[in-house]
Structure formats: structure tokens, C-alpha cells
């Protein structure tokens, strides 16, 4: 198994991944009951499933926001399931880009400053990376809004800022938990177009959704049920590893 995990084409590999929430006494919730799956470089994977099936739990583990209670998780060849809080923070900052359902921009910061936040915690000189941040803002179509605050932007614009922010550290993988959940279908489609484009340019993407139309954009869809993978649907053939 370990040899499989360390194969370089696997960006992400989970082996018997489990997550149990202990609620005190004998009360416990088995959110994940042993998940085996892998994501290749340049892949675009959607996770679907009924409410409470463990999608968000899965995404949080992949994003190193949480630690599994069982099994193993390899990210870019490293076993991260046993790392301490500081190491996990470092990995989040270097290798993961998050896009949240509710955008989660920091209200007191401008668009530009929001995009800079991940750089700040990587110890970058913000002056030197200004150019890159501007470029990203242009990429998401907000180059003329750098000094605006989140509450001066529409939901779609906020989510585009969040996408720019997720890209700023050039992460291995972008994780999105229902990124269009709060948007109407038109702006949602714009945001998804942007994500499609990132994937075409080589970014690896994992996305949680309830919407079949959204899932249809991914290369493949895994359906979860009661904390395990129920089935997997391939929409398109996965890209060759050299595509990146």
C-alpha cells in the first residue's frame, strides 16, 4: 500500500481513512468508515452524496484542517495523518487552496489584502509579491477593485476573490466545499467556468456539491453514503500525468 501511495502520480492517496467524532460517554458518530481513494495531478474530482454522508468531513481531512482517527493519508508523498498542529498549518499554507461556500473573506481587509493573507503566513515580503496578487485579481476579473472591501462586492465577486486567494500560494490542490451553494445559477456558472479554466491550466481540484450540473463538469464523481464511497462515475478520461 505504502509503495502505491508514494507513487508520484498520486497527489492524494487515502488508505482506510476513518473519522469518528466522540461526543462524550458512549456517544460517537462514525463520519468516515474507511475510505480508499486517490487523486492524480491535474485531476478534477467531485464528491456527491446525501447530507451527513461525510463529504465535508472528507474534504476537511484532505485539507489538513483535521486529523483522521484511523487509516492513512498521503499528500504529495508525505504521511500527514500524524503531523502536529504547526506542521499541518504549514502544509495548509503551502500546498492547499481553500474555496468555501460562504466565501470567508476577512471583512476589515481590502480585496488585495485578502488575496495576500496566505502569503503573509508563509513569511513572504508582501511588497515583492504585489505584482503576482494583481495578476491574480486580473485573472478573476477584479483587477479594478483591489481597494474594495468584501461588503462592497457581490457574492459572485467575493467568491472570485476567494479563488484568487486560494491560488496565491501556488498550491498542489484546490479544495472547494459547495462553492456555488450561495450563488444564483448564472453567477455560479461564472465561478465554475473559472474553476474549469484553472483545471485546464493544470490545477488539481476536488469539489463537493449537491448539484448534478456542477458535478458534470468534473472528470469523475465519487458518491458517498454513510461514510464510505458508494460508487464512482467517470465523466471523462483522466488526464495524463504529463498534462501538468
Amino acid at each position: 500500500m505504502a509503495s502505491l501511495a508514494s507513487q508520484p502520480e498520486w497527489m492524494i492517496r487515502t488508505v482506510g481513512l476513518q473519522k469518528t467524532y466522540f461526543l462524550g460517554g458512549e456517544n460517537r458518530v462514525h463520519a468516515l468508515r474507511g475510505v480508499d481513494m486517490g487523486v492524480r495531478r491535474g485531476d478534477y474530482m467531485a464528491i456527491m452524496g446525501p447530507s451527513g454522508s461525510g463529504k465535508s468531513t472528507m474534504l476537511n481531512l484532505i485539507g489538513c484542517l483535521d486529523r483522521p482517527t484511523g487509516g492513512q493519508y498521503f499528500l504529495g508523498g508525505d504521511d500527514v495523518s500524524q503531523m502536529d498542529d504547526d506542521a499541518l498549518s504549514a502544509i495548509r499554507g503551502e500546498r492547499i487552496g481553500f474555496i468555501f461556500q460562504s466565501y470567508n473573506l476577512i471583512p476589515q481587509l481590502t480585496v488585495l489584502e485578502n488575496i495576500q493573507v496566505p502569503l503573509f503566513y508563509q513569511g513572504h515580503d508582501l511588497g515583492k509579491t504585489l505584482h503576482r496578487c494583481r495578476e491574480l485579481a486580473n485573472l478573476v476579473g477584479l483587477g479594478d477593485r483591489l481597494d474594495h472591501r468584501p461588503n462592497q462586492l457581490s457574492g459572485g465577486q467575493q467568491q472570485r476573490v476567494a479563488i484568487a486567494r486560494s491560488l496565491v500560494n501556488d498550491p498542489l490542490i484546490i479544495l472547494a466545499d459547495e462553492p456555488t451553494g450561495n450563488l444564483d445559477s448564472k453567477t455560479g456558472a461564472e465561478v465554475l467556468d473559472l474553476i474549469d479554466r484553472l483545471n485546464r491550466e493544470g490545477k488539481t481540484i476536488v469539489l463537493v456539491t449537491h448539484d448534478d450540473k456542477v458535478a458534470a463538469r468534473a472528470h469523475r464523481v465519487i458518491h458517498m453514503k454513510d461514510g464510505v464511497i458508494d460508487r464512482e462515475v467517470i465523466n471523462r478520461p483522466p488526464p495524463t500525468p504529463s498534462a501538468s
Binding site: 483535521d66 498549518s89 495548509r92 499554507g93 470567508n104 476577512i106 471583512p107 481587509l109 503566513y121
Partner: protein, 431 residues
Amino acid sequence: MLRLQLIAIIRLGIKSLMLHKLRSALTMLGIIFGVCSVIAMLAIGEGASYAAQEAIKKLGSNNILIRSLKPPEAARQQQGGGGPRGMSLKYGLTYADGARLQATIPGVKRVVPSRIIRENVRFGRTEVPCQVIGTLPFFTEVTGVELVRGRFLSDLDERHQNNICVITAGLAQRLFPTEDPLQHSVKVDAFYYRVVGIIRETGKAEQRTQAGKMEGQPLDNNVYIPLSTSRTRFGEVLIRRTAGSFEAEEVQLHQITVQMQDTAAVETADPQIKTLLRRFHDQNDYELIVPLELLREAEATKRRFNIVLGSIAAISLLVGGIGIMNIMLANVTERTREIGVRRALGAKRRDITLQFLVETVVLSIGGGLIGVLVGMLTPVVVSMATDMKTIVTLWSVLVAFGISGAVGIVFGLYPARAAAMLDPIEALRHE
């Protein structure tokens, strides 16, 4: 690199605080009051003790003052009407005392006896109540007296019992608003005294005008005449008329100022003088004033005063600190989501701790700075409004400012740790 990061965190902290301007300002107010009260209270305390010490120093720290006192038993007798009418009450210091002190106490430099008699002084139609002080020429060398014009009493005046006088500047102004005092004579009782000099009592001037204002009668009105003149013009028996009844007293000297060579001599002479006087006085008709001792007492009082003021100020800073902690805890709860986002984007626990700690310290240091400004201004206003002397010392400013910074760190640590220990997922899910 690290410094850039810290500057960025401080700017971020200010930005976050500016988001709730009123709240931040109100929180700062606690620290502002704390720091301001530390500085202002210490300044007032310092000023008060300085004034007291200056007044005592003007008495001369090398001096020992002995004053005649009406013995309490005698006073009671007289009031009860038991004393034989027309008979004078005899008490107080004598010329012999002065001579004995000069002869027996080691380390004595000068002994200056003086007689102080309350009378009215007149020039033309103006009549002013005053003290007629009969003393020796070297009076000026023993106490803080500044010659304004003319000369002081001389040995010749003393020997010839001259009818001359030296008056204080305040009195000169009252008696001679338009004329030159040195050209004229003033009248006390039935005798005329030529004015030969004007002096200013540097030491007690402040105190005296203060006291004078309250009594409605300035004590600055002194007429100095030769001791021998005083003795012959006023006699030994002094008659005082109070509310229709006579009161006759026989007092040779009202005050003896003993000037010692140095402060060490003051300490050894103090008990010796007491012993000597006790031997020749069978009643308690004098008091000893040792400025040096008063000075030490004033210093001890000041220390006690500072401790009390310091405790009050410390409590107000403590309250300010609790206010800051309260607001920062509310702040952390309110910004749980932000904390979650930052953690997701790579912030380590210590990054979060630092961010919130910096915010608290910015609050308290900002409050401290404003407090220092207000605290340095308050004593100035107090001085102008109340005539009280105030002194802002550098150490009180440094201590107050230092404490405000420390308050920020101490009371900011817990909220900052609480923020850092939040679970990222829980924090992200927080509404």
C-alpha cells in the same frame, strides 16, 4: 524580515481596532484614566511635598528654633479668672537662656534672639496691623531674608538703641503706595522709627501670603527694630487688651534661633538644648522646632503618600486592564470565523496569538500615550486653578507608561491564547 512581519501585524491590529472605533476608544479610556491618574496624582504629591520641604528648608536645616509658649496651666488659670488681676504672667525664654545656649552647646555658630510683638504701624492716615520684631543684626544671616533696598539693622543701631526700622516689602507697599519709604518714619505705639531698609522674606513668602489670604490679614507685615530698642520702647511687660479685659504678660524673648555649624551638629545639639532648657524652666513654656527633623518627617510622609497614590492608580490600571480583557474576549468570539479562515490559510497558533496580543498591546500602549499626554496636562491645569504646586517627574511618566504596556500583555495573553486554541473547523463553522 521578522521586523517587516511585526510591522505588518501591528498595522493589521490597528486596522482591526479601527473597525470598531467607539468600542476601541472606550476600552482605551480605562487605560487613559489609569495612566493619567498615576501621573497627575504623583505630580500633585510631588508638588505638595516639594512646597513643604522648601518651606522647611527656608527655616534653615542648620537651625534649631526655640519659641516661647504660654504654658497651658497658666492659660487656664487666667481664663478662669483665678489669677490676681493686674498681676502679669511671667513665662518664656530669657536673655539668660540665649547666653547659656551660646556658651554651653558645642557646634553653635550663632544665637539670634528676637522679640515679636503684635502692634499697629501707622504712616499718615494709614494704619496696618503688624509684628514688631526686635532682633540682632545677623538675623539676616540665619534666616532667608533678601535685602531689597537700604540696609538691615547694624551693631551701632543696637548699641545706641536707635529709633530706626526695616520693613518688609509688602508692608512698604501698603504704607507707602506713592512715596519713597526710605525718606520717612513710621509710628508704632507712641514712637517714631525711621525706615532704613526694605527686605523680602524669601522663604516663607509663599506660605505667608497663602495663610494671610485665609485670615484676611497678611502676615507679611513685619517691622524689624534693634533688640535693645524693642526692650526699652516696649518694656518687659506686655499688655494685651482683649474684649475689654486686660492681659499682662512678661516675656523677655519670643524666639531664639540657634544656628549650628552643620546638620550633624543639629542632631547632637537637639537633646542637649532640651536638657539645658528643662533645667532652667520649671514650666512647659517653650517649644523646640528642628527643621531638619521636620524635613525627614516630610520625606517619610511623602513616601507613604506615594504608596497610597500608587495603589489607587494601580487599581485603576487594573480595572482598565480587565476592561481590555473583556473587550478582547468579546472580540475573539466575534471574530471566530476570521480566526478559522486564517488558520485554514496557513496561520499557526502562534501567529494568531501574536495577532491578538498585538491588538491588545496597541490598545493599551495607545491608551498609555494619550494618558501620558493628559496626565502631564492635568497637573498644569490643577496648578492654574488651585495655586497648588505640581511637579511631573520623569520616573512617574516612565512607570505609568511601562505599566500600561505590561497591562496590555498580561490581560491580552489569555484572550489571545483562547483565540489560538480554537479548533479551525469549529471556528470556520461559527456563525
